[in-house]
Symmetry: C2
């Protein structure tokens, strides 16, 4: 077994005990990249020498952080002090920032090897697509906007990577690529140094190939109550299976995956019960749209003014408020969101987690359509932690995942539920 | 009259008609700085040649933006592509970022002359104080954390400047320095590129020496409904005078200023009526504290891990959660805030604005105590627009202001109310 094949948690154990070095793991990941990158195109910036030099610095460190020696992919709209941050925008091609984004600083401070920048949908928002292909089938999208991060982790090029979610940019690619992802509670992980699209929605998250991988990164960020054990077995879990207001938009394979995950959990002894969301949730998609477009007005205004010709019309339309979002509509959307957050949290502790589709179906063919975020947007707006778990395959043999969701600030408990549920839900695990 | 003596709006008129150049105004401001800066110490970075070069670039522009030719001070925790951003932190001394913060990009895109970086409380949050002195009395603080921006505008060194408010860092210094300030609705002005303290609270705002100055900057940011006239005279205004839950913490001069502003407005024919906030507001200060400290955990984690010895203990305590903020307390604080936001907005359109103290009293003596933010924190948390208006003098001859407040996204109407109220409220106007 090559080091690149290890999950982050497996590699971390060897790195901590000293039987694997950051450099050896990094070199193995680079070899994997040499083989796969011509097809997958996950990286927008990858400098072999720099990655090795970052690994050597980690190998020389006095202490070992929780991410010691783990190569990390960074979505290319998150600043890095030692690599360009191009946002997949012609405006920022080769842009050098002076300091790391907060999340990169934390990862580096905990010993991660900043490995390379992963390709993204322009500004993680619209416009240009990443060049990245799905490692399971290069004729298909890996999803977006965290295209490169999802594909790089799925393809063994890095064990962990940062992505972001404003609509469904983190969890959907996890499903398309057959990997794990955590979108933590909004506001818990400092998003400073990542391109802003919507203040209310933008959330930093990460990919791994196991729940334990996701937990390692959560430890780096000191998510609340990580040291408080759930103290349950899978037989004691209470799972709310939630079709939600968008169920009809799910392809058969996504509906089937969700029901299958429920059946597998029930077969393992968990209590699985269907849960219906109350009436205000009928308007939650619209609230997401209003807030996204409303806040998008200000997000791209600097580029609109200073680099008009280089700004894709997607972003010009945001600035010009082409959809006519009003102040009144924004207030109503915020108030509805606040109401739904309370209503959703009230499902806990009656349930330990809510189970729902992670994406609308298999990864679409082509590079332009990165998939429908409708199974993610409302959860992003609710600010709740979402964790993607691979589950099954669709009619074209592509991965199809599910997600489990906890109450706000319930990230630690959700990771524990996932650790119990994943071996049951993930047929490949 | 020297050009530096012009308000932004007065200067803008001359700049637009071509009777004043950006370079002439910038040189005049630099002369004012040469005279006053040794006493006031408003700037942490000021390069005469660079300011003039920025002005000349503006003078050569093909088109004139709404801020054409106006020298702009930028709080030194907001990124600038051409000047260092030091955050008043030994960690980031001389830090060079590759691109402007969003707000600076917008200002530059609208023709502002980026003039210099203004001194700030460390990370706009705690630790080291600015060196800045109050222009009205150099033995006193200009307030914080937007110390340099407030003092620079008050002292005629720049007509406009950016500040930020997380507790009371924008409106309080406006009161202490006898100038105008607008803290817009949270989330409307993109805060990307400014140091993060609290995601829920951090808000970019600006200073000027008249309401018209504030409106110019608001135009640059395309705040909602700026083109929709209020269509009222001062006699038609309905003002809610709100002592609020913290009235007892106001010094006599701040209580007197608020009541005096109310009397002046009533004397001018406005309807002024005392308004009481409902019961949930009794816990709003505590909600602000919980959210601030809870989000502060993640805000300084990168520096805690990578530059521990250079990080002030104020920030180490945040990271270590020394006050023991829990996940549960954070959820409750968010839910209470959402409830209070709705309750406050419900006061409108019964009132056109709420009038309340802008600070707890005159500017304190010394450099360490930058004043009590208690008359600002709750409004920051409510996400509502706040506009500071100078009103009177305290027992030591120092300025004492008031603020008027509108509902969320009501920034444009609030500016119109201010334009009517300021000539009545501001004895010096």
């Amino acid at each position: 077994m090559e080091p690149w094949q290890l999950t982050a948690a497996e590699a971390a154990a060897k790195l901590q005990e000293g039987t694997l070095t950051a450099e050896a793991l990094t070199r193995s990941c680079l070899e994997r990249c040499a083989e796969r990158e011509p097809i997958t195109k996950a990286f927008s910036f990858l400098d072999t020498e720099l990655a090795i030099s970052n690994a050597r610095r980690v190998d020389k460190a006095y202490t070992k952080g929780v991410l010691h020696g783990l190569p990390l992919g960074v979505k290319d709209m998150i600043d890095t002090a030692d690599m360009p941050t191009s946002h997949n925008s012609p405006i920022y091609e080769g842009l050098r920032q002076g300091r790391d984004a907060a999340c990169v600083g934390v990862a580096r401070g905990e010993g991660a090897v900043v490995f390379g920048k992963t390709d993204t949908v322009e500004f993680a928002a619209g416009g240009r697509r990443a060049l990245t292909r799905n490692p399971h089938d290069p004729t298909r999208t890996p999803g977006g906007s965290s295209s490169g991060s999802g594909a790089a982790v799925a393809d063994g090029m890095v064990p962990i990577a940062f992505g972001t979610q404003t609509g469904g940019s983190l969890i959907r690619p996890a499903s398309f690529n057959g990997i794990y992802a955590l979108k933590p509670t909004h506001g818990v992980v400092n998003s400073e140094g990542a391109k802003r699209y919507s203040h209310t929605l933008d959330t930093i998250g990460w990919y791994g190939r196991s729940v334990a991988d996701l937990k390692l990164v959560a430890q780096a960020f000191r998510l609340f109550d990580l040291d408080k054990p759930l103290g349950k077995t899978v037989r004691q879990l209470r799972i709310g299976l939630c079709r939600g207001p968008n169920w009809a938009q799910a392809a058969e394979e996504s509906q089937a995956a969700t029901l299958l995950a429920g059946k597998r959990l029930a077969a393992a002894g968990a209590m699985v019960e269907e849960v219906e969301l109350p009436a205000p949730f009928l308007d939650i998609n619209e609230a997401h749209r209003v807030i996204l477009l409303g806040e998008g007005r200000g997000a791209f205004l600097p580029e609109y003014l200073t680099h008009h010709a280089l700004l894709h019309e997607d972003f010009r339309e945001r600035v010009e408020n082409s959809t006519g979002i009003t102040a009144k509509a924004q207030v109503a959307a915020h108030d509805l969101s606040a109401e739904c957050r309370k209503l959703f949290d009230a499902l806990f502790p009656g349930f330990d987690a809510v189970l729902t589709p992670a994406a609308a179906g298999e990864a679409p063919v082509g590079r332009q359509d990165t998939g429908n975020p409708v199974f993610n947007s409302m959860w992003t707006l609710l600010h709740v932690p979402c964790l993607a778990i691979p589950c099954t395959k669709g009619p074209n043999g592509m991965p199809v995942g599910v997600q489990i969701i906890g109450p706000r600030y319930g990230d630690a408990a959700l990771l524990e539920v996932a650790a119990l549920a994943a071996p049951v839900v993930d047929a490949g695990a």
